[in-house]
């Protein structure tokens, strides 16, 4: 059964109504094709209304929707059988919360990596709910080094609520790992494209977020702190995530306005999880176009371009 978010309820209700009518018709009942057509019109109207007026908190729910395509689905969709996943940080272990490897996307060889979530309980535990440990960032650094050596572009897919903060991750330096990953990424002389596909959760996200071109899915979010945590600090009440989500300005539009994100990739009506194939193909098109543009830059230009981009981020008066 599909997960239904609260604001999706009206859509869900109409969909069930249509299904009921169709079953009626199929079972040889009265002709209800007019009613079906009307319900389908309703559906489109209600969907458009809802999805063009999502609150930031609705978007948080959308971004976390477990049916959204995850990193390995994007890679499978874009790279097909060409993808060879590489494992391990060559230091301590392999972190299943960050996946990556070599792939060919639209005939272009790339290094791709990203956070990996899962849907079923066992998978989610295996992936640590997409919360990466130090080994995940160190694997990403390994892949960046490989990209630099082979002169391949880097594609980073962000989808994490936060980095892992267990005792083990603290002990093995989750902070150092995130810092070093950003540091390495900043120093790459190959094109780097970053795509926030779902949750862009604070340090865990920016750890692999230092790109020349940064894209974000329409209903993804990108935030310095989870809205619930923010509410807990501001109002001592972590149930006020909706208010905090507004205050944090964490939507794709906000991120563009703040000068952090360059491009929004539109999602199908109802969100990425409704039409995964479609959104994956949109992501592919946008990625290909971005890499086409970046391929015109020299290694030094790529380095400078990325540096200047992040160097400009921030708001202050002088």
């Amino acid at each position: 059964m599909r997960t239904v978010l609260s604001f999706e309820q009206p859509i869900h209700d109409i969909e069930r109504q249509i299904e009921t009518l169709r079953n009626l018709q199929a079972e040889g009942g009265p002709d209800v094709s007019v009613q079906i057509a009307k319900a389908e019109d309703d559906l489109r109207r209600v969907q458009t209304g809802i999805y063009s007026n999502l609150t930031p908190w609705d978007k948080v729910q959308m971004a976390r929707h477990q049916d959204r395509p995850h990193t390995l689905e994007y890679i499978a969709g874009l790279a097909g059988d060409s993808f060879v996943e590489l494992h391990g940080d060559r230091r301590f272990g392999d972190d299943p919360a960050i996946v990556g490897g070599l792939a060919s996307i639209f005939g272009r060889s790339v290094i791709v990596f990203g956070h990996q979530k899962a849907r079923d309980l066992k998978g989610r535990q295996f992936r640590n709910f997409g919360s990466a440990r130090p080994e995940g960032y160190r694997k990403a650094i390994r892949l960046m080094n490989l990209a630099e050596k082979l002169r391949l572009p880097v594609v980073s897919l962000i989808d994490t609520s936060a980095a892992d903060c267990s005792v083990g991750s603290e002990a093995r330096g989750i902070s150092e790992a995130i810092a070093s990953s950003m540091y390495r990424m900043a120093g790459l002389t190959v094109p780097v494209v970053v795509i926030v596909t779902g949750e862009g959760g604070s340090g865990g996200a920016i750890g692999i977020g230092v790109g020349n071109h940064i894209m974000m899915l329409e209903h993804a979010v990108y935030s310095v702190i989870p809205p619930e945590g923010c509410a807990a600090i501001l109002w001592k009440d972590d149930s006020q995530g909706d208010r905090a989500a507004v205050a944090l300005q964490l939507t794709a539009e906000d991120s563009v306005r703040l000068g952090v994100v360059d491009e929004i990739i539109r999602e199908p009506l109802g969100g990425a999880h409704r039409e995964p194939a479609q959104v994956i193909s949109e992501v592919g098109r946008a990625l290909d176009a971005a890499l086409d543009r970046l391929s015109a830059l020299s290694p030094q230009q790529l380095l400078d371009h990325r540096y200047e981009k992040f160097r400009r981020m921030g708001v202050y008066d002088e």
């Binding site: 005792v167 944090l248 981020m313």
Partner: protein, 294 residues
């Protein structure tokens, strides 16, 4: 260096009470050690002579950024970089302006950071200090920009840099995504700085957490920390929800970080300047005898 008067320039502000649980006895003459298992009353003048370290238990009282600069730099050599960056409120975040005003009034600082240059044991160095007493030393656009500019200044001058963190607040929530991006900005600025080939030293003081520990504070060539300083990715509260392993006694402290290979030395405040001076002296020495230049 005569230690007797080193604090006189920064008197009057007693700093935050990091671990306070014990009742404080308001007094101009005495201050109570906030270490639970100590709690001794310390004669304020003596405490300042002891560099604000409890003579009984060794607890390191917090220093303000100004006090820190006085501790580390040769007297009278500090020259502040006046970047004149004024904090904005890009998100119109609830209560942010009021919060800023409150901390400005309380600390006399405009922001959580001071930057500049000076001499340490005779060697020229750039320095940034974040101050926990200003909004928990959290990193916003101005803090990130100040660090990046100081790194650029230092690289241009071929000077080593000292980055002192009292950033318990990590990335500052009130500027949202822009604060988060300062992690990347400062990491990128350090990456560029490193190409100049000068030494970078990070000093972790109580507290150093979150987005600051996970960016510039972990990227120094050498990382020193004061004893007992809280150093970690997340604070106790957030983590309590997700812990399954039982954390050790010294979890998320300087000592824990040292045990796990994340920092070079846990250095008592009394030895901090001397250690830095030796590092700067070695790294800045005339290297011609040792090396062909590139």
């Amino acid at each position: 260096m005569a230690r007797r008067s080193w604090f006189s320039r920064a008197a009057g502000r007693s700093g935050r009470d990091a671990r306070a649980n014990a009742e404080r006895v308001p007094s101009d003459l005495f201050e109570q050690c906030p270490n639970r298992s100590c709690g001794i009353f310390l004669y304020r003048k003596e405490l300042e002579k002891d560099l604000k370290v409890c003579k009984k238990c060794g607890y390191h009282f917090p220093l303000t950024a100004v006090e820190r600069i006085n501790l580390l730099l040769d007297e009278g050599t500090f020259e502040a970089f006046e970047f004149n960056l004024k904090t904005g409120d890009p998100l119109g975040f609830p209560g942010y302006r009021e919060t800023l005003e409150r901390y400005r009034a309380k600390t006399g600082m405009q922001e959580a950071i001071i930057a500049g240059r000076g001499l340490v044991g005779g060697t020229n160095a750039a320095i940034c200090v974040t101050d926990f007493s200003f909004l928990a030393g959290s990193m916003n656009s101005v803090v990130g920009e100040t660090i990046a500019r100081t790194l650029e200044e230092a690289a241009a001058a071929r000077a080593p840099i000292i980055l002192v963190s009292g950033s318990g607040g990590g990335a500052r929530m009130h500027e949202g995504l822009l604060s988060l991006m300062q992690m990347a900005k400062t990491a990128a600025a350090l990456e560029r700085y490193d190409r100049a080939g000068m030494l970078s030293i990070c000093i972790l003081t109580d507290y150093t957490m979150g987005g600051v520990l996970a960016s510039w504070a972990s990227l120094g060539d050498v990382i020193l920390a004061e004893p007992g300083a809280n150093v970690g990715f997340t604070g106790g509260r957030v983590a309590a929800k997700v812990q399954t392993e039982r954390p050790p006694e010294n979890f998320r402290t300087a000592e824990f970080s040292f045990e796990h290979g994340m920092i070079d030395r846990v250095t008592p405040r009394s030895q901090l300047k001397e250690t830095i001076a030796r590092l700067l002296s070695i790294s800045a020495a005339d290297k011609v005898r040792g090396m062909a230049k590139r």
